[in-house]
Symmetry: C2
Subunit: 315 residues, 2 copies
């Protein structure tokens, strides 16, 4: 038996098409495009590349994104003033603070300067709190709020594939503020029995084996082995870990490794991206599984764009 592949890439394409027509209707109705400000400080190449990618991607769907790049030595007061000014600007519907911020910057203060109604990334404590306090699905709605795009994408995969969650054992491996904890709270809202496990968990494989739905978000290549998975379970892999797979022994080396422990040189080996789950082994055990790449990853950007459209609608 091989698991059904939860095809995030195809699903993201569907959602992109829906989004595109929703944005067109919005622009036609309102006469302006939903607009996001990207706040970035410093000259980290990966961060610059990511900001440019977001701008280009959003433009493709009729959304507008404006990068506000600042030098790494910007004073904290100036960065706070920028975020406050964007928060007050009625022409800005969403704001994304790109991380990492320069060293020494008070991250909490920068986030706190964000208007929660423009926090399309779901990083403001008020949004985390509204998610934590939200009633279970079907028991009325709480205040509108933003959920970080990555776990929102994972939940959308579960929803679109009609995977039942109520009364199921869901195990979330990892407890970050942008994936693990919000994913746990989202699963709880859908009436799953939710366990959060992490590096201090006594017997990780045993806890994971209890999962009907296993969500992995630890950022460690192939940490989850096939024998951690209950036969037939649904596996959502949020990991995207850069590795140099050894052509001789198959080991996953660090992305900057020059050689493998087995002696094989790795200079010519290209970096590959793998998940937190050993996909090849896991797909023989799981009932359904997201691949990496092509699983949760492609969903993230489209969920962010949906958040921006929602922010513009509420403005």
């Amino acid at each position: 038996m091989t698991a059904t592949i939860l095809d995030g890439k195809s699903l993201a394409k569907e959602l992109q098409a829906e989004l595109k027509s929703d944005v067109e209707a919005f622009v036609q109705d309102k006469g302006f495009a939903p607009t996001m400000a990207i706040v970035r400080a410093g000259s980290d190449p990966a961060s610059e590349w990511y900001a440019r990618t977001i701008v280009r991607t959003m433009e493709r769907y009729g959304l507008q994104a404006v990068e506000h790049g600042r030098p790494a030595d910007i004073a904290q007061a100036d960065l706070l003033a920028l975020v406050a000014q964007l928060s007050a600007d009625p022409g800005v519907h969403g704001i994304m603070i790109q991380e990492p911020l320069p060293k020494g910057m008070d991250r909490a203060a920068v986030i706190a300067a964000l208007d929660p109604r423009k926090d399309v990334d779901g990083v403001h404590p008020a949004n985390a709190g509204l998610l934590a306090q939200a009633p279970p699905a079907g028991r009325g709605e709480g205040a509108p709020f933003f959920v970080p795009a990555t776990p929102a994408g994972g939940m959308e995969i579960l929803r679109r594939y009609d995977i039942p969650l109520s009364g199921k054992n869901a195990v979330v491996l990892g407890r970050s503020n942008i994936v693990g904890k919000p994913m746990a709270l989202l699963l709880l809202r859908q009436n799953a029995t939710v366990t959060v496990c992490h590096s201090r968990t006594a017997d990780l494989p045993a806890v994971c084996r209890q999962a009907d739905v296993l969500a992995a978000a630890v950022g460690r290549a192939h940490m989850v082995q096939a024998d951690w998975i209950r036969p037939g379970a649904v596996v959502i892999d949020f990991g995207t870990n850069p590795v140099k797979p050894c052509p001789a022994c198959g080991a996953h080396n660090a992305e900057d490794a020059a050689g493998c422990a087995c002696g094989q040189p790795l200079d010519e080996v290209k970096v590959a991206w793998v998940g937190d789950v050993d996909f090849e082994a896991a797909e023989k055990v799981a009932g359904m599984i997201t691949p990496v790449p092509g699983g949760t990853g492609p969903m993230t950007n489209v969920m962010l764009m949906r958040n921006l459209l929602a922010a513009a609608r509420r403005s």
Copy 2:
């Protein structure tokens, strides 16, 4: 073997003594007493009684509490204005919105009018969010925030009795915003592996039996049976359920029951308070257990008062 009793009543007395001397030192230093406003609407007798109790209790420890009672038909705008005015008043350090609010009142809007820095009850989404986002213990501090008094009291019992939590299986039964969910997040911060279960959980007894630490907060008299408890487990019972115990068969009837199913009349039977855990049976299995009354209950008021002192210190 009988379980060690986690004596919340004695512990609360210790904490009250500590609090009293801390408050005295604060008043000596600052020249004013930490002051809490209690906002209440309507004439529910239980709610009025509770407000008076809080005022009297606080005064005993040198704290000040002022009740702002309003009629049940107060306009929402007027209640919002009251909360906003108290939030802006530098002489008010803490604000407690007493529930239930009158029917039709937008609870979320009233809570949102609260200054989170005065939210000594921990009900504001920003405080729930800061708790959700707080780093694990020992990995730096997040922003200061308030935790609802009941789960804070449960955690304080665990701390004062030196009960290890890191790597332990903690199961929280119930997912309310004032007990279950914050308790789960507090246990997670202490590096427990945390499972939240609830009415939709497939096999509640089996999930509870996995707990090294079991926290019950469902509000159902004696729901947790002895065979739900792993031998030696630590049991924290947050339930305080009014019942009329039948003198003939021992069944727990509703507090307003006139007669028991066994035929025994109950008119003369006084209401008793019991926990969510069948204490008499459970104490033969558990390693440590909070009694009801005298367990988590007495801790709640003192934790609220500690929150008020903290709010005044930060003001």
